[in-house]
Subunit: 341 residues, 2 copies
């Protein structure tokens, strides 16, 4: 059934620092009724919320265009096809799309991917089997190149990227030290995800704890947070350490450089003395790894060697609040919005 | 003729920050008279002074052992053989050695390399044809991977590494922007070395000048200084920029982290957004490139495509003062000490 109304959340204004409710606006607009040739009319079932969206809310150079003011917030979605004018797609099919924070949208069929209709967890295509999972896989294996017996450190240890990085590193024979916000997350990382240790970055003595947890130093630091976690990691980096840089969420809300001391010297001296490699990457440049990733990840999930947890909020209207919480670290597991049944 | 006295300069105390004359001590000790089996007795002709020596004066983890207190300062030398008990070496041969800041030494023959007796510039084995030249060659070509039409930035533009980096990059078709201390060095970089532009880092508006000099951004930043030069470079880095990290001489005398703001966030955000690769390296791990380096560099020098300049000080006793000047950037060209004729 095609409704008359499309509900969507648009960027109302650009955030200054931390996003606030006033930065978002929920609108009701006419729902498109008829896809054009080669297009699909889609109903959103699941919306993914991810830290990278903070970058799209700001102007200024980045690896992707910012969301324009008044435009629908961007985001990955799992949708149901309500009408199709594209070969190979039928009403009722489920697809992975990038239709953003709205209940309905028209999309070209070549911008979506058809999902297995029998998949019991379609929303996983937004997480462990989707962009965050591929980010972990490529960043860890291709850039981090972990070897058995090495020590890996990853923060946001219960988030979809961090949790996957840590679990794959365990499969590769690494000692895995997670860092997360709060004791509940740390317990989850150890008990459910199999990390060797997980440290609470809210503790004052993070550096002392990290030193004790990495007696042989750090060979791979998967960087997704920056901030004081990175500063604690720098003195522990080993000779020939690798640092895939996937995100620096602690700094996404900065409006000016943080106060000193200036830790740039400490990083650069370690890069030099230890012959460290730091490498930034974005997943869109590594899509050729998708097929191997899917094969490996489906096997690991089926064998129970990778565990995956979602944090589900219900209803499109909850998205702004949930997203603000994500930037504070409130979520436990991959944050997704259940938009429709 | 074998003298009775060996004059040497030892590390008298570890510097706090900038080295001072009191950190060094000139001693006269008995000169060894007879090399053992497989050894050579050497007379120093030329001593190389290089920034890395500052690191060896301090304790603490680095890629090489520190010089012990009371021990002869380390360093590359060109020597004459005064006595030989090693096959293939005769009295009067010239060799490249690592005998440090002293007039005479005994060294095992397998720790030296015989130099061409007809070479009109034996001291060049300490510079453009030696460790600094190989550092430039490997760091630029293997790690920096410059492509024709790209923009390269290198500081210490008239030093042996920077000058070689810039000239090789020109040969590879890059736009080359140097940074140096003072107008005399800048003029030399442009007029003699063929850099496209050279900026004086003593100017207050370095960032504005760098921005104007790099209208297409920076593709390769060969890092040998750190400090405010690096901070000016960060906002100009292009997508997929490469940053070989060979030294951070601006920070070698630090006794505490510099004051804020903390520029770590700026660097890491650029690494992420622009997918930058930073890679530290030390030349000892790239010696397999030595043969190709020598072939290429000898050809470039013979064809006049690479220019090389030395800053010669005379007499071993001048070494501490010259070294302190090196860390201030007083030298113009590769700093070498002429120890004997």
């Amino acid at each position: 059934m095609i409704p008359n109304i499309n509900r969507r959340i648009v960027l109302a204004q650009r955030p200054q620092g931390r996003p606030t409710p006033a930065d978002f606006r929920l609108e009701e607009v006419a729902c498109p009724q008829h896809p054009g040739p080669g297009e699909l009319l889609l109903e959103t079932l699941w919306l993914s919320l991810d830290p990278y969206m903070r970058g799209r809310m700001s102007e200024g150079p980045s690896y992707a265009e910012p969301v324009a003011l008044g435009e629908t917030m961007c985001g990955g979605t799992v949708c149901r096809v309500l009408a199709s004018r594209a070969d190979g797609f039928e009403v009722g099919d489920r697809v992975l799309a990038m239709t953003g924070w709205q209940t309905h949208a028209v999309a070209p069929a070549n911008a979506v991917r058809r999902l297995d209709p029998d998949d019991p967890h379609p929303s996983w295509a937004l997480g462990v089997l989707g962009m965050p999972g591929l980010t972990a896989y490529v960043g860890l294996l291709d850039i981090g190149q972990p070897q058995a017996g090495e020590t890996l450190v990853v923060a946001a240890a219960t988030g979809p990227v961090g949790a996957t990085v840590g679990q794959i590193a365990r499969l590769k024979g690494c000692r895995v030290v997670g860092i997360a916000g709060g004791l509940e997350k740390c317990a989850l990382a150890v008990d459910e995800l199999g990390f060797d240790v997980c440290l609470d970055h809210h503790q004052d003595d993070l550096y002392a704890q990290l030193k004790a947890a990495t007696p042989d130093g750090i060979d791979v630091y998967f960087e997704n947070v920056g901030g004081h976690v990175l500063e604690a990691v720098i003195p522990r980096l080993n000779t020939h350490a690798r640092v895939p840089v996937c995100g620096v969420v602690a700094w996404y809300n900065l409006t000016a450089p943080p106060p000193g001391p200036n830790q740039l010297a400490a990083l650069m001296r370690s890069v030099l003395v230890n012959r460290v490699t730091l490498q930034g990457f974005i997943i869109g440049e590594h899509l050729h790894r998708q097929r191997e990733f899917h094969t490996d990840m489906r096997a690991w999930l089926a064998e129970g060697r990778i565990h995956y947890r979602e944090d589900v909020v219900v209803g499109l209207a909850a998205a702004p609040g949930a997203f603000m919480g994500l930037l504070r670290g409130d979520n436990l597991g991959k944050l997704v919005v259940k938009v429709a049944d």
